[in-house]
């Protein structure tokens, strides 16, 4: 068990990287507290698996340091780092039975037989595979195989961190939910640090206490699910999290007031006037409502998603989505929209630009 610190970690898959584009991971500074449940969320190819492999030691970073507590582990191999990792596709040892699979990491480390037996049975109990211990692993269903891969990570009670690399990809949807709750439950009972990599926002938000959102090799925002939803630090986060994502509308700023065409838009608070660049208003569809007096828009598309409708309208040439319950307008109809002021914010060059917003993290990150 340890606190994990990444200090100025960069990684490139090229032998001689020179330009920033050559790096799969731009400079990353991160701290993972002992016992936390983290999710690493981002689109495919954003570098989250690379980051995971750097922490586990399957890859060595091109630059920077990785610390477990105070120990520099940058050049240590995965088994020396004492971590566990669960992969996208279940990895099991086909010829062994379930018991031997679970015992394998302990046997390799020369753990005493009675201790192994006790740990294997405990973990099997936790994962609800106790009745399968004697079965051959090759014949198990995909979800049980994935449980077994997790079990091999959990069986060592001294691991520094357990990492999951999109572990539910091959699992049927109805079992996904079950396994996800199982994971959460496991985290609560054993309190290992867990890092969960996914591109699925639901998985990330339900599993983690803290979500790290990544895009193109950089960390864009770290926060609780609520923070990410209610106060995205970057338009990318607003877009990526939420269904549909945050509306982003180009706007002008005149004397500290955001103007959408000729309409002044009331924002969450005073804006940070020190920043220059492309100005945009961000507001989630949940906070856009149909009113009698407001911004003019034309209905372009309506989708019924069950509990509510998603109305897609055009303000000038820019689309806006609104989540709406109740009577729906007709296609092509002119409607009036209003944005909830406490959830409407200004973004400059993609970054949140309100006076109380924190300093943005990656200076080089541009959208």
């Amino acid at each position: 068990m340890a606190k994990i610190t990444l200090s100025k970690v960069r990684h490139s898959y090229m032998p001689n990287p020179s330009r920033p584009e050559d790096y799969a991971l731009q400079s990353i500074d991160l701290e993972w507290d002992d016992g936390g449940a983290y999710a690493l969320l981002g689109p495919s190819g954003c570098g989250k698996t690379t980051l995971l492999n750097l922490i586990s030691g399957l890859r060595t970073p091109s630059e920077g340091k990785i610390l477990f507590d105070d120990q520099d582990v940058t050049n240590l191999s995965p088994d020396q780092r004492n971590i566990a990792q669960v992969f996208q596709f279940p990895v099991i040892y086909d010829t062994m039975n379930v018991y031997d699979n679970l015992a394998f990491p302990l046997r390799n480390r020369g753990v005493e037989k009675s201790v192994i037996d006790q740990r294997v049975r405990e973990v099997a109990e936790m994962l609800e595979v106790s009745d399968m211990l004697k079965r051959k692993a090759a014949g198990l269903s995909p979800d049980n195989k994935q449980k077994l891969s997790m079990g091999r990570g959990l069986v060592r009670d001294d691991v520094n961190v357990v990492m999951f690399d999109e572990p539910l990809t091959v699992i049927d949807p109805h079992l996904k939910w079950k396994l996800r709750s199982k994971l959460k439950e496991l985290h609560q009972s054993i309190r290992h640090t867990m890092i969960y990599v996914t591109h699925d926002q639901t998985e990330a938000l339900t599993f983690a206490d803290q979500v790290v959102v990544m895009d193109r090799g950089q960390v864009v925002q770290i926060g609780t699910p609520v923070e990410l939803f209610e106060r995205p630090a970057h338009t990318f986060v607003g877009h990526f999290i939420g269904s549909p994502g945050m509306n982003v509308l180009p706007c002008d700023v005149k004397e500290g007031v955001a103007m959408l065409g000729d309409t002044a838009i009331e924002l969450d608070g005073p804006i940070d006037r020190s920043r220059q660049g492309k100005t945009e208003i961000g507001v989630r569809p949940e906070f856009v409502s149909l009113v009698d007096e407001g911004i003019e828009a034309t209905v372009r598309r309506i989708s019924d998603v069950g509990r509510h409708h998603v109305i897609e309208a055009m303000i000038g040439s820019h689309p806006v989505a609104a989540i709406h319950k109740g009577d729906i307008p007709d296609l092509g109809e002119s409607i009036k929209l209003s944005f909830k002021a406490s959830q409407t914010r200004l973004y400059v060059d993609g970054w949140l630009a309100m006076q109380d917003s924190p300093v943005n993290r990656g200076e080089t990150y541009e959208n």
């Binding site: 191999s77 086909d94 079965r135 091999r152």
Partner: protein, 294 residues
Amino acid sequence: MKTENQKAWFFVLPVLILVAFNAIIPMMTVVNYSVQETFGDNLFFWEGLTWFEQILNSERFHNALGRQFFFTFMILIIEIPLGIAIALSMPRKGFWVPVCLILMSLPMLIPWNVVGAMWNIFALPDIGLLGYFFNHVLGINYDMTQDPTAAWITIIAMDVWHWTSLVVLLAYAGLVSIPDAYYQAAKIDGASNWSVFRFIQLPKMKNVLTIAILLRFMDSFNIYTEPFVLTGGGPGNSTTFLSIDLVKIALGQFDLGPAAAMSLIYFAITLLVSWLFYTLMNRENLNDYEEVEH
């Protein structure tokens, strides 16, 4: 609604005709010879199972069969582990992959009797590179036309040279199909190299190795051309395998009846052993999947 008609037979018919002409009919002529005595002028006399009894009781057959099994045993015990070892040490990606694969395929592309001729010349004590090296550089007496041991070693070496590649290519195909995650997981689990081989690579290669063993068994058990060109079954009868002996009986002595009976016995043994290999190696697989949950 199910319509029944017999049209399907038309689709199967070409295959049936083909199989009849290239397998069943030739085979039945052999069965026909095996129970009769032939003389010139197409005179045939019914002999029943006499030839079968004679072959099964003859010491000559027993010896050839023994040599055959010993040869096949040696081939399998050398080529399978060697093939796996070479496949393991081949690169998995990069420039050298195609180079290795082509180099490995070359021996298999050479016609069998050319292989025999090559090794014959190669092993000649006076002008052959191998023969000269043994006799004149190492000072070891090596002459496969005189010494049965030398003949055996040469034949086995030739077959290993010719056919290990097949095992290599099959094993390699099995190896490259293993996802990286398996190796990474093994690293994290603290597995030794031996464990990685024993619990990941070998199980993943199992299916292709079954095929490799079957093919090498059948080919080596039926081997004819190469030893015939290399040693002609000699010195004496020391490298006379079943197929060489069969040709001697059938074409040399023109004993068609005994030769036919021997062919059938030979065929039955090949079939039986192949079947045994296959069932034994596949039984494990079946066990694995009986336990699949639904």
